[in-house]
């Protein structure tokens, strides 16, 4: 039963990501960037609009600008990973997601999302086995939520 669940989740996550790539709307859920700093949330919002409009370079630049203000904001690193994935840079995307995890603390939803992203990145670069183990980790964190 557990395995079935994981498989279903894997399919739900991996398939839309693959089928609609690189449309930025393909991702099932986007977690909001939270911060006490309005400058950070404003930049994250601009980045989101840029990404939605296909201006991926601008989106990454805005996220880097936000990271200069809050270098340890796990959500910003996650967003940067997401943008890199859409830019067709799976290795960079996986690294940023890993970096995001180091700041994610006990935010299981974010960790799950990061592992999903790592899975997608590995799929993109042809590492199917690696992708599956990443989706497995994602499922584990998903259950912790």
């Amino acid at each position: 039963m557990k395995n079935l669940c994981a498989l279903a989740l894997l399919a739900a996550v991996a398939l839309p990501g693959c089928a609609n790539f690189p449309s930025p709307t393909a991702e099932p859920e986007a977690l909001p960037v939270t911060s006490d700093n309005n400058a950070v949330t404003a930049l994250a919002e601009s980045a989101r609009q840029d990404a939605a409009a296909g201006r991926l370079n601008a989106a990454a630049a805005n996220l880097e600008r936000a990271l200069r203000i809050e270098p340890r904001n796990a959500m910003l690193w996650h967003e940067l990973a997401r943008v890199n994935l859409h830019q067709g840079q799976p290795n960079e995307a996986a690294q940023f997601a890993t970096k995001s995890n180091t700041f994610a603390g006990d935010n299981a939803a974010l960790r799950a999302s990061n592992w999903r992203l790592i899975g997608q990145a590995r799929t993109q670069s042809g590492d199917q086995a690696g992708a599956e183990s990443a989706f497995e980790r994602a499922a584990q964190f998903e259950r912790q939520r």
Binding site: R68, Q95, T102
Partner: protein, 765 residues
Amino acid sequence: MRRPKLRKYLRPRTLLLAGAALLAALAIYVAYLDFTIRTQFEGKRWALPARVYASPLELYPGKKISAAQLSEELAVLNYRHGTLDEPGTYLRDRESIELVSRPFAFWDGAQPALRLAIAFSGKQISKIDNLETGQALPLVRLDPLLIGGIYPAHNEDRVLVKLDEVPPILIKALTAVEDRKFYEHHGVDPRGIARALWTNLRAGDAVQGGSTLTQQLVKNFYLTSDRTLRRKITEAIMALLLDAHYGKDEILEAYINEIYLGQDGNRAIHGFGLAAQYYFDRPLHQLTLSQAALLVGLVKGPSYYDPRRHPDRALTRRNLVLTELADQHAITNAEYLGAKTLPLEVATRAPMGTSPYPAFLALVHRQLRSDYSDTDLRSEGLRIFTTLDPHVQRTAEQALTTRLSTLEKQRRIPANSLEGAIVVTGSENGEVLAVVGGRRSRYEGFNRALDAVRQIGSLIKPAVYLTALSQPDKYTLTTRLDDSPLVWTEPGVKEWAPQNYDREFHGEVELRTALAESYNVSTARLGLALGLPAIIENAHRLGVERNLPPYGSTLLGTIGLTPFEVTQMYQTLASGGFRTPLRAIREVLTPEGAPLKRYSLAVTQAVDPAAVYLTTTALQHVVQSGTATGLGAYLPADINVAGKTGTTDDLRDSWFAGFTGDKLAVVWVGRDDNQTTNLTGAAGALTVWGQMMAQLDPEPLVPAMPESIELVRIDTKTGLRADGGCDGAIEIPYIRGSAPTEPAPCSGHSPVEKIKNWFRRLFER
């Protein structure tokens, strides 16, 4: 016999032929000149230097900056205090600043001039309001500081302008003084020469020049400056040709952009566009009558009439230009009188030469050269946006110069014998915030930050301890190391017997203490046990690119690295085990502002984050209770700096590398002749680091704890597991499963304690 021959030559027909040949030769020469001027004039593209900008100051509520600090930054950006009448002005109260920002075309679009009210509470911004719309703004950036250029041959610098951007009064003044009949003559003006002679005789001074603007342009464009008759004639022919081919406006525009108007150190100021900025710090189209008159006056002798060096001469010259304009009724008498009484109004900014930050610019230039040819950099007018933080750069420069002078005085070191270098970066993103290449940071010269390869001593040790801590089954922060005498022999290498700095041996020491106290003997023994290949491998993972020799002495840092290379190594530790290439450039734009290339942030997990976490904890221990406790004199303990001192044999090199929550900095102090400095890392470089960092108001370092780490209470006396019964026990991080399991004697679980408790219970009954 000869006569008939001579006569033959003098025959009219022969003469005619000779004349024709001569004419043909002249025609060919003229055609050649014609070809030259046409190809060159039409293909004329001025080599435009790449312009290099610092990182813009970002303002947002919550930003740590006081009103005093912001007004200092505004002054550096040449904002004028006291009015709000145009972009680049500001007013200041105690707790608020109002300003009109300058419009600027950033990488991601243009930001118009904004009227802002910035409120502060204490040392941070509390609110930013747009004065025009009344809206609160989450974030604005100021126009970035221009920090230099990468210049073409002869360091010619210019800002190209179109004729319609030139104030009409400047053109009137130019023609009035240099070439009255510019719009009437055909390139040369014989009457003009006569009149110039007469005017100059009457004035007793060379008020007017005889050359037309066209001739002056030709001279600047095509000819060398030798003053021969032949050159004069060539110049005249070329001027006639230029005039025949091109309109007056085209010629004038070329002249306005070409003419030499001043010298700023090694940088040559060409064209009125740049001159307006250089002398008045404003765009050309905003010049007033008196300012335009001064610039026109400079044409005759930019060095002789230099308004900064010879203000009296410049004032006289300017007023002469004004008189000339009034005489020709180009301005009214009221305008004349008004302008004549004005001061020179030259911007006081210290001339900067090619850059005030040559050491940083050298880094930018190097990083650009991997993507652009030097010719493109020196001619295409690229706009380069860098990571330099002017505030950090100034602070670093000041800390180095003042500390070195103080150290020389306090320790009776010969004055000016010490040198130093600093690199400061953002600890998570690897952006280079400052580079100081030596004490005299304004001058280009030996760039010690990038080019001084010096032994790094104990700065290598984190690579040894990281390797150990990556093996949690064998090593933890509390593992006992052996610091007793060690003699190491290996084939082909001299017998090696490392010594501690204090020339003593310390028996059994905790691993973290061995690093904190920088014990050489226990570190060497640890390193030899781990094996040099594993340690060298980790040094490379951390970012050291140089080959490291697999000798025992490498463990104690007898290898040479530049301060910049050391920074790259510590960057990986500061960013939690992610290698983050040090970047000095963010974006490159075309002169028109179109994005060309973005240098994006990149991270690569290079070493195990848990081992990095433990190493960082050990490096914090260095500052809390090891060789770097001296930092306490500069920074509060709660910043929790992680750092390492480095000292080399005979005290030749004094190093400190360390990071806070937001910044990483590496400081080297030593002598160029590699003689002793009499300074340890703690006595020298650490004090520079401390003074600098204290002024940068750093964020506390709280490394993100990986999941695989657990905190365990440890009895410091025995290094065993403690509980509530142990006084002075401390929490130490371990990779899960590696913490000591044996209870300390002080804890309720130890056999000794159990017996004691049994007796206690017995007697209490």
